[in-house]
């Protein structure tokens, strides 16, 4: 009997080994080229199933909506202006917009005939209602510059601002807030504002090419074609968002053909799925970086030598190669390669452990304990590599792995002790990204990092350029100053990527930032 059990056990282990061995080997070389479809003509119809790791908590109640909520609603909610593929702000719900520096006004002329999903008009009154909510609750940036707005006629809205010209007002006021139906909101509550809010948390009524059909929290969001869409009939009939938290399940679902698009794919799965014949759609670049605690008065990170020592200690190229499966590249600046502010001439701080040791010695922090706060998951590998390099130069690095709650609570709220591993992405253009996240009046505050006082005037000045050339130059100065001061320590550059079925034609990735033109996407029969 014992022999039989032993033999069966051995057989099981051998079978398991054979099964494992039969799996496709994972290449660590540069991934294959993107499959391209040429000559295909758009066709109407079809349902696209889209995988996202998490569903929205809040749908159409903009005051409680976060970026992750909005991301899956981009097919339903639209803004007054949008970014195009050249990183230019272009009118979207607006027919045109104009800033008058002398009168201190922004005049928005809306397109005529735009309808919300509930059938009500998207006119100046509806837009003004959205702005009223946003400004009263301080949801838009540069609120101190907001004076008042006036409805000139049914399709013209004039926003009056205070203070000096600010090139970020268009981003903050016209691009950031999505527009929702006033009529639907008020009708849902029938005079009871709390009822209206509860309705809006679970429903969305925007102007986008797809309207809400069904929503099951944490399960799915089904959107169907909005036949009255102002931009013409969308190609797809339906979009079904599926919220799948586990990447292995999501990857298998893509391979099985049970979904056509997967947003925010982990790097390892990008490689697997690309090798399986699926399409990799490259989106906006971002830089993975170490963010030092510059806010605490007694923080050791005010010492530039220490910050520089850390940057010189990191073998960024080695890390990018080892961790990125061919998709990462070493980053020398916080501005990703190819965007405004990236400088080819800046040499960066390349791996030089001896120089790192010298600088560490000079800083007086040799042997000091350094805590790196990191979000649980794939970033832990990066933090582990960082620890090894920092230990090598004579620091005592401790990796502190935090669950999302503690991580984001620290990043955006309570702060961190030494370093936090984070990322910097460019959604619109890089000047806008700077002001939104890093500037002297950021929309997103970090718990232990704010713009060093010596860069505040440069930051303010960068908002005064109305022309693109001036803005580009200002972005260059800002990112260079961040690099020279080693205020942020870039590690490697990542391109956010989605994976799509070869039959699904999508231009997302070519579009800039937080923009998806769902009316243009189509599915082969």
């Amino acid at each position: 009997m014992k022999k039989i059990i032993l033999l069966l056990g051995i057989a099981f282990i051998i079978a398991a080994l054979i099964l494992t061995g039969c799996a496709k080997p994972q290449a660590t070389t540069t991934p294959t080229a993107k499959p391209t479809v040429t000559g295909a003509q758009p066709v109407y119809g079809g349902t696209v199933r889209v995988i996202n790791s998490a569903g929205p908590r809040i749908l159409g109640y903009s005051l409680e909506q976060g970026p992750m909520d909005l991301f899956v609603l981009l097919c339903a909610a639209e803004k007054v202006v949008e970014y195009n593929e050249k990183q230019e702000l272009v009118p979207h719900l607006a027919e045109s917009y104009k800033i008058d520096e002398n009168a201190k006004t922004i005049t928005v002329k809306l397109r005529k005939g735009i309808k919300f999903h509930d059938g009500s008009d998207c006119d100046a009154e509806a837009i003004a209602w959205n702005y009223k909510y946003q400004t009263e609750n301080k949801r838009v940036g540069y609120i101190d510059q907001w004076d008042y707005m006036e409805i000139k006629d049914k399709y013209t809205l004039i926003i009056h601002y205070k203070g000096d010209y600010n090139n970020q007002l268009l981003n903050a006021w016209l691009w950031s807030p999505p527009m929702y139906s006033k009529a639907a909101f008020e009708k849902a509550g029938n005079g009871d504002i709390e009822k209206s809010k509860d309705w809006a948390r679970q429903n969305v009524s925007g102007t986008g090419p797809f309207r809400q059909y069904a929503f099951q929290r944490d399960v799915s969001l089904t959107m169907v074609r909005f036949d009255d869409y102002w931009g013409g009939k969308p190609y797809l009939d339906k979009i079904e968002y599926l919220f799948i938290p586990d990447p292995v399940s999501a990857s298998l679902k893509m391979q099985a053909g049970e979904a056509e698009l997967w947003f925010g794919v982990p790097i390892k799965d990008q490689l697997t799925l690309e090798q399986a014949g699926l399409k990799r759609i490259v989106g906006q670049p971002s830089v993975s970086m170490l963010i030092p605690n510059l806010n605490s008065p007694d923080s050791k990170w005010h010492n530039k030598d220490l910050r520089e020592a850390v940057e010189y200690a990191l073998d960024k190229e080695g890390m990018a190669k080892a961790l990125g499966f061919g998709y990462y590249s070493p980053a020398k600046m916080v501005a990703p390669k190819g965007v405004w502010g990236y400088s080819e001439s800046w040499p960066g701080r390349n791996y030089d452990p001896n120089k790192a040791k010298e600088l560490l010695q000079k800083s007086g922090y040799k042997g000091a304990t350094v805590k790196v706060l990191v979000l649980t998951g794939t970033a832990v590998d990066t933090a582990t590599a960082v620890k090894r390099y920092l230990d090598d130069i004579g620091l005592n690095c401790e990796v502190d792995i935090a669950d999302p709650g503690r991580y984001y609570g620290s990043l955006y709220g309570t702060g961190w002790e030494d370093l936090i591993l984070g990322g910097f992405g460019v959604l619109g253009n890089s000047l806008q990204a700077f002001h939104m996240n890093l500037g002297d009046q950021p929309l997103t505050r970090m718990g232990s990092w704010s713009l060093p006082s010596e860069l505040v005037s440069l930051s303010k000045q960068s908002r005064t350029y109305p022309d693109e050339a001036g803005q580009k130059e200002a972005a260059g100065k800002l990112y260079m100053a961040l690099s020279e001061g080693a205020y942020l320590i870039p590690i490697y550059q990542v391109e956010s990527a989605s994976i799509a079925s070869p039959k699904f034609h999508i231009t997302y990735g070519q579009e800039s930032g937080f923009t998806q033109y769902w009316a243009r996407y189509w599915l082969e029969k």
Binding site: F12, G66, R217, D246, L252, K253, Q255, G405, G413, T414
Partner: protein
């Protein structure tokens, strides 16, 4: 018997109160602030103002003394109000009502099938002791006990979802919407949830059956020339079930514990996934209320198990 049940019910209430206090304290000991986590997701500096945080803290009653918070919550629970989720900005009772039927559907299916197959396999193994069937059952039960549930989930998805395309990889369909699709959607999750319990039950049944089979009254039954089926069902099985029944009570807890992993792997929005999300978000009220409901069910199941001993073994009497 009635006195015993009343005593156990009082004990159950005490245990539930202790559990609620433990969970209430444990979740608050975690580093981080649920409001900052919630507001942090808005990624809006103005929303993170101290004024706004304090306003929300007051709205959720988090500015009060923890003892007051506890009694406020318990008071609400007794009135049928489980509280309001910080993350979902909705009533917890409503959220639980959405999630519970899903977990219960899969869990009950796994519970019934797992126990039925477990007992059956245990009987077969005991009756065919030392033969190939016993060996197969032994191997299956060892695998069932040792295999990580999430890994089994991925294996099932790989073979039945990806390679054979027989079953949907993720998701759940209500039986009231489409019974056939619903059955297909719960096969793999139910297998994952039942496997460990089934294996343990099979081992326990086998061992108990073998123990009973050596008893004098079984030998007497054989000597009397009774039919095998009668001896097995009437004499052996019933007397072997007491330790197995104990495991059934524990199995209810295992079903809810397993749902945490299974619902994540199969992207099913049940109570398990809700609790995982809520722990990460430090959504106090959802965690407290979820644990309260689950612990009540587990304690009640164990009470039923304890009472059933008397039916299975007349020698057991409750004072």
């Amino acid at each position: 018997m009635t006195a015993y049940i009343i005593r156990r019910l009082i004990m159950a209430v005490i245990i539930i109160v202790i559990v609620t206090i433990l969970v209430f304290c444990a979740i608050r000991l975690l580093p981080g602030d649920p409001l900052i986590i919630f507001l942090g997701q808005n990624a809006n500096i103005e929303q993170m103002s101290q004024e706004r945080i304090e306003q929300l803290r007051h709205e959720y009653g988090l500015d009060r003394h923890p003892v007051v918070q506890y009694f406020d919550w318990i008071g609400g629970v007794l009135r049928g109000d489980l509280g309001r989720s910080i993350t979902y900005r909705d009533n917890v009772g409503k959220i639980m009502a959405e999630r519970f039927p899903v977990t219960l559907h899969i869990g009950l299916t796994a519970f019934i099938l797992g126990n039925a197959f477990g007992i059956l396999l245990g009987i077969v193994a005991a009756l065919r002791r030392g033969r190939w069937m016993d060996t197969v059952v032994t191997i299956i039960s060892y695998i069932g006990i040792s295999i990580p549930v999430f890994w089994l989930g991925f294996l099932l998805i790989y073979f039945f979802g990806l390679k054979l395309r027989w079953l949907p990889i993720t998701g759940y369909v209500s039986p009231f919407v489409d019974f056939w699709q619903s059955t297909k959607s719960i096969i793999m999750p139910a297998i994952c949830e039942m496997i460990t319990g089934m294996a343990v039950i099979a081992r326990q049944t086998r061992s108990a059956m073998l123990e009973v089979s050596r008893q004098d009254y079984i030998r007497t039954a054989w000597a009397k020339g009774l039919r095998e089926r009668y001896i097995v069902v009437k004499h052996m099985l019933k007397n072997s079930l007491i330790p197995v029944i104990t495991l059934l009570g524990i199995g209810v807890g295992m079903i809810f514990g397993g749902s945490v992993l299974v619902e994540t792997v199969f992207a099913i929005a049940g109570v398990g996934r809700l609790l995982v999300t809520s722990v990460f978000q430090q959504d106090y009220i959802v965690v407290q209320s979820g644990v309260l409901v689950i612990s009540s069910i587990v304690i009640l199941s164990n009470l039923i198990v304890d009472i059933s001993y008397g039916w299975l073994d007349p020698r057991i009497r409750y004072g």
